[in-house]
Symmetry: C2
Subunit: 379 residues, 2 copies
């Protein structure tokens, strides 16, 4: 059965005063334009952590607040991949006949907590015994990858910062992005270190936000919208939790496997992708993803950004939304924020940053590329 | 497509020294007798809280530890309903064609934390604004329901304790139960109050444990086992998070709706159920469930246990495993522990507590009957 996204919505991302359920409602309101909420019969919610709002049971919580009670509803989680997992679960629900119309939700309210609390909550995404007990934070993991990558392939801190500069430039055209301001290479290079060689400007911010997608089969989709976006592929792959257990830590195998399976499902290859949103939690990871997604050869990802190929107007525009870096990174919402960006472009609604494409790819991951979720969408 | 449970496993429940992944492995080892792990292509894990082990990303964690890497894997959560949600997600994965064989996992490691920490982690299952800020713990919620039920329908503390006595008697025949000892009505009535009128002996214990189920379509199931157990129905329904928002707090509507839809899917009624496992987190809830599942009329649930109808050998044996009360309540594992009990009886492997039945029903819930998951199994 073919499965479609029939509508989407996303809140403004940033430091927001609202709670999760209010951010969800902002996104839902946008998505319900032209859709009757009575048609929705399942709700899947991606949320990273119970610590930010001292809350679990987000299925019941958002169902109640959205006027969607007595449907099937529950939470899915693989840290920062939770949003895309909500979409994947909605996709399975529709394909299996469990739901005719399913709502995928991603939401996170993080800024009510301090940076230390957030760092601690994110650290739970690494192996307690192998990594947490050694005090290795998530930024430290990515810093190790960056150090090794630079040493092996001759990439520079300028190459890493070039990712941030590109993504901020894109976000300057995205009214819902956390940051709308451009940054210079100099500003990035001079910004405060987080975990060397990674600096603040190499790192995604702590954000609040929500995004939702309505998913349905072909018959329902054609009835409810003139611009259904087809989910050509939806794949999930889990690697080890600790990068210490991987034969080659610089090779994000889960990302590669998820992408390879998605290309196979969709019947397309990397060269067919017209626009991509990838998981730049730290700049180094956008570069690693270029390689695992087949956009660049191994060890040459940094050249792609150096040569401007992933800019808007380049060969393969990546993170036109601004990416996690500049659109913002409300962890549980990020996967669906990526999908929202593709949805806007494929349906011709991306305004000043519009990229015309037939196929869009989103790669959302949790942990340190420990669980990867790939989606390929087509108009 | 018809979906079957082809194999199951469960760890010993209790105060265990092992971590989640080790408890999972104990359950997996039992389930893999006669099954090749290479056949498994998806893993869904029900876990309640990240606070017990300071860990999220259980999809990657258990996949790695179980030798099941590079499959689809992620966590599902609706507090104590998480285990049954793992089975429901596996059911959707098989029905949708996303997986040929899916592994549902439920696991929780709770006893490394103190009672106060566990109470706090469970409290996150109630509405932060409406209930947590008022200091209403989960036991206090059920105590309010018990008080109201006793007042309206003339039930007594003896009726509540009769549930505990029955469930402990059942658990005395279950070698994997947290408690194997019988209790008397007197012992229950005299036990320490938790939230009046509920006492320690009305309350499920804090337990560690894991349970797993392997799920497949008909063709695969017939190849791998001689005793496939069919999942006739798998339903999930979400009610409000706060009982304060329900027109009739004594009517667990999510439970009723989940059961009604499950009966419809299965084409059977309450009278056809030969054995049931229900969510007796507190004794009052087993009585409320009798009514919502159609085993008793409204206001007469307590008479069912008073008259011995839900004992082994009664008209409709309930919680032959010992229930949450005596088999134990490792929160994320509980839903699959219920399914494990039905599986043993339907396949004739329940030993001294064997109940011969054609249809089994399991009702797992999260919050205060906020999200209900019903399964009907048949041999």
């Amino acid at each position: 059965m073919n499965v479609y996204i029939i509508s989407m919505g996303m809140s403004k991302i940033g430091k927001r005063k609202e709670s999760s359920k209010e951010l969800f409602f902002e996104a839902l309101t946008e998505a319900l334009q032209g859709v009757d909420p009575r048609d929705i019969d399942a709700v899947y919610v991606g949320v990273q952590s119970e610590t930010y709002e001292h809350q679990i049971m987000y299925g019941s919580l958002v169902s109640e607040y959205g006027g969607l009670l007595f449907r099937e509803a529950y939470r899915v989680e693989a840290c920062a991949a939770s949003g895309a997992l909500a979409l994947h679960t909605a996709y399975m629900a529709v394909r299996s006949g469990v739901a005719r119309v399913a709502l995928a939700v991603g939401v996170e309210k993080m800024t009510a907590r301090g940076t230390e609390e957030v760092t601690d909550a994110l650290m739970a995404a690494s192996d307690y015994v192998l990594d947490q007990l050694n005090g290795i934070t998530i930024p430290a993991h990515y810093a190790m990858l960056a150090t090794r990558y630079m040493r092996l392939y001759g990439a520079t801190e300028e190459d890493l910062c070039a990712v941030a500069v590109k993504n901020h430039e894109n976000a300057s055209l995205n009214p819902k992005a956390h940051f709308q301001k451009r940054i210079t290479l100099e500003e990035c290079l001079r910004s405060r270190p987080v975990a060397r060689p990674l600096k603040v400007m190499d790192s995604a911010p702590i954000s609040d936000g929500a995004a939702v997608a309505l998913v349905a089969g072909e018959d329902v989709a054609r009835k409810l919208t003139d611009t259904p976006v087809r989910i050509l592929a939806s794949t999930v792959v889990a690697d080890t939790l600790s990068i210490s257990q991987r034969p080659d830590p610089l090779w994000p195998r889960a990302v590669w496997e998820a992408a390879a399976r998605a290309y196979r499902q969709a019947g397309i290859g990397p060269r067919d992708v017209g626009i991509a949103e990838v998981h730049d939690a730290f700049t180094i990871n956008e570069i690693l993803m270029y390689e695992a997604l087949g956009f660049a050869e191994r060890g040459k990802g940094h050249l792609l950004v150096r040569e401007g190929e992933t800019q808007r107007g380049g060969r393969i525009p990546v993170n036109v939304s601004g990416g996690l870096k500049a659109r913002g990174h409300p962890v549980g919402a990020t996967g669906l924020a990526q999908i929202y960006e593709l949805y806007l472009h494929l349906t011709g609604r991306a305004g000043r940053r519009q990229v015309n494409a037939r196929y869009g790819l989103a790669l959302n991951e949790g942990g340190v590329n420990s669980t990867a979720v790939a989606h390929i969408l087509a108009i």
